[in-house]
Symmetry: D2
Subunit: 280 residues, 4 copies
């Protein structure tokens, strides 16, 4: 005999573009929304009885309808509104998770002036939020994915374990490149979302740039500590940093000395370092 | 004050190709290996002291060296060997996780005969394994990702909740397409890995084809039950099924009736259904 | 002063799913269609006068409407029908190009019997066609993209130029892997499309498997010759073959000899070889 | 009988990272290089005689060796140097094409000051060049790929052809979003590459923002004209603009009026508009 021990379902990649028009001055917000519900849905799985099911198509419609009514000043409070909708409306739903990735649009500058309605993409870096609302509490996380940074010096790696499979040479001056993924948990549900996000982001960038790195792990920890220091409403932060290796090219066969100038970037394999830093 | 509450690191996407040569008859095995270690690494994060760190480059070398010595009859026992290596060699490592995705190579047939050394890719479907070894136990999971299947009938969706945001029409005959991701936990550490994998895979495919689906959830559950029935050494199975919608095209503006013939496939948004079924 | 020297526009990635129902036995056809028109559209570019423009949204609708009326026995004749539609209907259009990629669906087998309505993806390999219709002629090409093949022996590379930047070692036994892209031009407009496609595909696969390769270039040429021999209605064929390198791993630091067994697959950089072979 | 009517081969995705060190102040250049040679290589294809072949591995080495010697002030002159190397060294090579995509690194600002050795990715937009050198001439093109821009108003589309498959409604106020791909041909081989690139890029961005668009085609043409006006050393420019549709969401079923506020972004299908504008 077998039984259903866990279940969840939802709608992913609901793409929302919202234009707020203040006369000729427009604000643009663009995001992708994932919703996942948990609750008393077992009879749908086991007996094909859909009477407890909120259709995923309805979830999609709900995103657009609530977007119309919501001020949308931050993705965090919009995610809270969406999660609350499902928890408050349907008593058989025990958990509503809303995850949002925001597109990084910047205003175009024409002759040094921000344009009122034209935008250019800020690239691969996206701001994220994850709100998980259950019957008795709300968890609000913010985050960043795809923040690609690189430093050309002040990074080394020495003193690690040498065993029979170790061939890596120690170095006190290597390139350090990564695509940061970070998410942090707030210790309250009303925060100056945009200011907090910017403080955390800048603290991590500054630390990355200025840190004298003895390992990716150490820099990750320093960035997490700086983020916690910059944002008192943060409870903990998790960072994941792939080590996007740049490998010194051997120019000796061509009679040349490579003075830490010429490197090849490799995509695979990559080191992957993670850690969670918590306020005590 | 803050502290490190969780840490892990490893090497991802170590790509291994292994050719076993039995005279003119060759066997090809190709995979991507991820390794993640947990343990007493805190001083690396907090103080840049790397003396407890197995370099991720060493992990990569270890994959190749152990592959040379291992019979590699299944990815599951190779993952076990890799995880064991780290746990047994380093007492400060508390957990070694090894995840492998195998490339789906099939032997080319020439004039109806399997060729001894030429292969063609089986496509997007990959066999996976995840072995997590700690000081006191081993967990071995097998799985599939990217198994793309579609049925043109015997799928409906009716009787779900209708609220103010519901516009979806009920249907008793729709297309059902998905890209299955499944992983299952074995209740023992020595299994006929390849036979078990094939039994589970075939049970899920057969059930998908033959099931009279009242919802994606119901078919997912039926596939999980069939998998458990087909493989006694399985303890539980988790399935994730995106609903890759095919939407009926409205041909009325062109004076045509669409008798469930012409559809548009949409990538976004998509329903995402998951569940875990457990042997009682 | 400046002027418009070339223009073209169209709709890309029109995704069409067609189900043909013969009682309980269903046929599934799935494809992505690109349309590109050239003609007298200059005043749209230069003056914003859209009176000569067939909207790309109309092109999309046209795909679905013509699919409803067409037997769709092959993507080649469907592409011809679409291209003809635009040329015949609009006298100011000088060229209509239709490119189609077909999804590789195979019928699921249950207990050895092909299932009447359930399908499984054949993976990354796609059949393609490109029809270009102008006022006075039609060009019909067929093709394959994403045919990933590998042979573990009977491939070498020696005798190439050695200059001051050459470090590659000669080898008489290497792995040869590629993702074939091929397209061929028919010398007539009515062909047994499906039989021709299968003959060409099989001729290329057989040759890849059986060829004693002195270079990727030589195998490419042999595959092209075999394709021409297998299909009398083919006028010429172009093949593109990335060299998806597998590099021998150096196991000597670990006291092991690598007898052509253990390799690492690299994605970048890759050789890229192309050629066109023509019937004289 | 058949014969080789065209051939070419090369190395793609040679990834180069170059750090120039001026004391503590570092400059970072990162790119991916493709090389393709044409010439008298037929006997390699037809007879497996590699004596005329420059190995693609040698091409890769050549990129790194020449990078070491080259000032690398612009990707255009580096591509010229690479193309010249092959043409000048090997008389049987008739054409050497070098294509480069540069990674968009920006200097990190810490407390408002540009950091001497830390960088952050500028995202998806890449600067490109393509140099084609033959025995008697050099063609140097520059370009942009992945420049994602959006305007929330001043874009309409009316007056197009209405036929039996037309359902699109005319609009005088829609969102216009695209991912620009542009490449332009210089009329001379020594140019202030970086200044020219910046002038062309800014002219296209300014025009996109300020243009009152009656169609994608018209804006494309206006951007091309502006680019030609901004850069006297440009001979012609080709632009390709996918129409990344934002579609108004129908909120009426929820009793709401959508005042051009709430849209869904769709990836497929997309319009694809291209044109070449030439200096007379």
């Amino acid at each position: 005999m077998s039984s259903l021990s866990r279940n969840a379902y939802g709608k992913s990649h609901v793409r929302l573009t919202r234009v707020a028009r203040h006369g000729a001055f427009h604000e643009l917000t663009e995001m992708s929304v994932d919703i996942e519900l948990q609750g008393d849905f077992a009879k749908c799985y086991t007996h094909g009885d859909n009477s407890s099911i909120v259709a995923t198509d309805t979830m999609k419609n709900t995103v657009y309808a609530i977007a119309k009514k919501h001020p949308l000043t931050a993705i965090e409070n919009f995610a809270q509104a969406l999660a609350s909708h499902f928890i408050e409306k349907f008593s058989h739903i025990t958990s509503a998770m809303v995850y949002i990735e925001a597109e990084p649009w910047n205003r175009i500058e024409v002759h040094g002036h921000p344009h009122p309605h034209a935008f250019i993409s800020g690239g691969s870096e996206k701001r994220t939020t994850r709100v998980t609302r259950t019957r008795d509490r709300t968890r609000t996380e913010a985050g960043i994915i795809g923040m690609v940074v690189l430093k050309t010096t002040k990074s080394g790696f020495v003193g690690y374990i040498r065993d029979e499979y170790t061939t890596l040479k120690e170095t006190t001056d290597r390139i350090f490149a990564t695509s940061l993924q970070a998410s942090w948990l707030y210790n309250q549900q009303e925060v100056e979302w945009n200011e907090s996000f910017q403080s955390v982001r800048q603290a991590m960038i500054d630390t990355f740039a200025q840190h004298d790195s003895l390992s990716v792990q150490q820099t990750l920890y320093a960035m997490g500590e700086a983020a916690l220091a910059a944002c008192p409403s943060m409870e903990e932060i998790s960072l994941t940093m792939p080590n996007q290796h740049r490998i010194l090219v051997n120019l000796e066969p061509f009679g040349m000395e490579n003075k830490n100038e010429i490197f090849v970037a490799t995509s695979e394999p990559f080191g992957l370092i993670s850690g969670t830093i918590r306020r005590d």
